[in-house]
């Protein structure tokens, strides 16, 4: 008896725009995050993640309006991260409409914020984001600021510690694989998923639906964050509006090219693939009856 795996579109946000990079760098503008969020919600996303990818660098958080607009029409859990430093920051993001927050830099600088925040808002509200980079000697170390700042912390030790401190979930990103389309870091995911009792969300690297199946089966991921595969599918099938006055590289979007390492798929494709391969996940039960999937 296995449990239902969550598929979580991850939307990286810079200013007013949805962006996507490679190794969390070289950000390309893809469109308006709210439009992607609404589309993913209607298509059957299990949760959503908004990450303000430049907030840590500039110490700002411009997400509030986007969160408010999203929370009015999207009734699935929304996690927000990027640049949250204090209990007050967390409170403000929750008030704007987030259901959970994701912390990285703040937690590494001051681990006590994990226990304080989980006591105040409930463990299930506090998700710890771990950005891992594999070292030449094979060890995995945790980084902050989109993989730029070295912390010296071993990923495994840090993961166990955040669980003890009261984190509700871990979002584990392989910076090495992120945006490459080469697949998730299976070794990293499995190492952490086996060591903790809280759910682990695998993040970074999906280039095809097969990669998602692999990180569930071999990596033991409890949930999977997906970005490029879904975003490129959205762009192929929708007219995209971009805020041109604002920051960001829009050349990619205007060229209408897709990144060759990515095989776009929508949420239905992903869940259909998972069902056919014996994984359980939430689906449209009316459709399920027609197509004959069983529980």
């Amino acid at each position: 008896m296995s449990k239902n795996i969550r598929i979580i579109p991850r939307l990286d946000i810079k200013g007013p725009n949805l962006v996507k990079g490679i190794h969390l760098e070289g950000l390309r503008v893809l469109g308006k995050p709210e439009h992607f969020a609404r589309y993913y919600y209607q298509a059957g996303a299990d949760e959503l993640v908004y990450m303000d990818v430049v907030a840590s660098l500039y110490g700002r958080n411009s997400l509030h309006d986007i969160i408010e607009r999203t929370a009015r029409e999207v009734f699935i859990p929304l996690t927000v991260g990027g640049g949250l430093r204090t209990i007050e920051d967390i409170k403000n993001v929750l008030r704007a409409g987030a259901d959970k927050v994701s912390l990285n830099t703040a937690a590494i600088k001051n681990p006590q914020i994990i226990s304080e925040a989980s006591r105040k808002f409930g463990s299930s509200t506090i998700l710890i984001s771990i950005e891992a980079i594999k070292q030449p000697d094979g060890r995995y170390l945790a980084y902050t600021d989109n993989g730029r700042e070295h912390t010296g912390l071993e990923v495994l030790e840090w993961a166990k510690r955040v669980e003890t401190l009261g984190a509700g979930e871990i979002m584990l990103t392989s910076v090495d694989m992120e945006g490459t389309g080469k697949g998730y870091d299976i070794e990293l995911t499995r190492m952490v998923a086996d060591a903790v009792s809280i759910p682990v969300i695998a993040c970074g690297g999906a280039g095809s639906v097969g990669h998602i199946g692999q990180v569930i089966a071999e990596g033991k991921a409890d949930a999977v964050a997906v970005a490029s595969i879904l975003h490129y599918d959205f762009i192929e099938n929708n007219r995209v509006e971009v805020d041109r006055e604002d920051e960001g590289n829009v050349e990619f979007l205007e060229s209408r090219r897709t990144f060759s390492k990515i095989n776009p798929a929508n949420l239905h494709d992903i869940k259909d693939y998972l069902h056919k391969n014996g994984f359980q996940c939430r689906c449209n039960i009316n459709q399920e009856m027609v197509s004959g999937h069983t529980a």
């Binding site: 449990k3 239902n4 699935i76 259901d99 979930e169 939430r282 009316n286």
Partner: protein
Amino acid sequence: MGTPHSRLQVAVIDYGMGNLFSVERACEHAGLNAIITADKSTIMNSDGIILPGVGAFGDAMDSLERKDLIAPIKDFVEEGKPLMAICLGMQLLMSESEEFGQHKGLNIIEGSVVKFPVKNMEGGKIKVPQVGWNRIFQPSSEDPTYWNESPLKDIMSGEFMYFVHSYYTVPSDKGAILSTTTYEGTQFCSGIRRRNVFACQYHPEKSAAEGIKIYKNWASATKSKQRDGL
């Protein structure tokens, strides 16, 4: 959606546990006027109350007691007015909980609150809390009208809802069980219906369109109660 005057006023009980804004937004979406409050007279004058909650059972009961909210909630239910209890709120309705030692609950529904086992039948590790989507089923022994006249009306048995919890309720009277769910081999009570009380372990406000339907159904039931002069 009606005018503000025709809207029902619902008190979302604020006892300092968890994020109430998503409950408030779901109410608005269902055409209810939600007020997040810990004020006794506001609660007593509402058309319905919602007892939400995330966190630890003991802390929650302490907080309800400190804010002097235990009697108002029980009185409200006693008057036959509608109560919806969600997640930890559902657990608080029970007589007692084993969470971090024994704690007394509101005792509105007779029964207890217990924790998921940490290992399954095969000895494998189970992730607790359960975080994510799972199915709610109508118990086979249940009279179908029990479901169809509840806020689960028009929702199919087997539908997915969003759960976040480590503990679950065990009502003494199995007849109070509205729906069951199975997590890692443990079948538990995921919904309760008892007269004017509806309780669910999942978060309907986070369970997409089918979850919002529960709010809408509860809102129309609350509206007809009000018409009946309750």
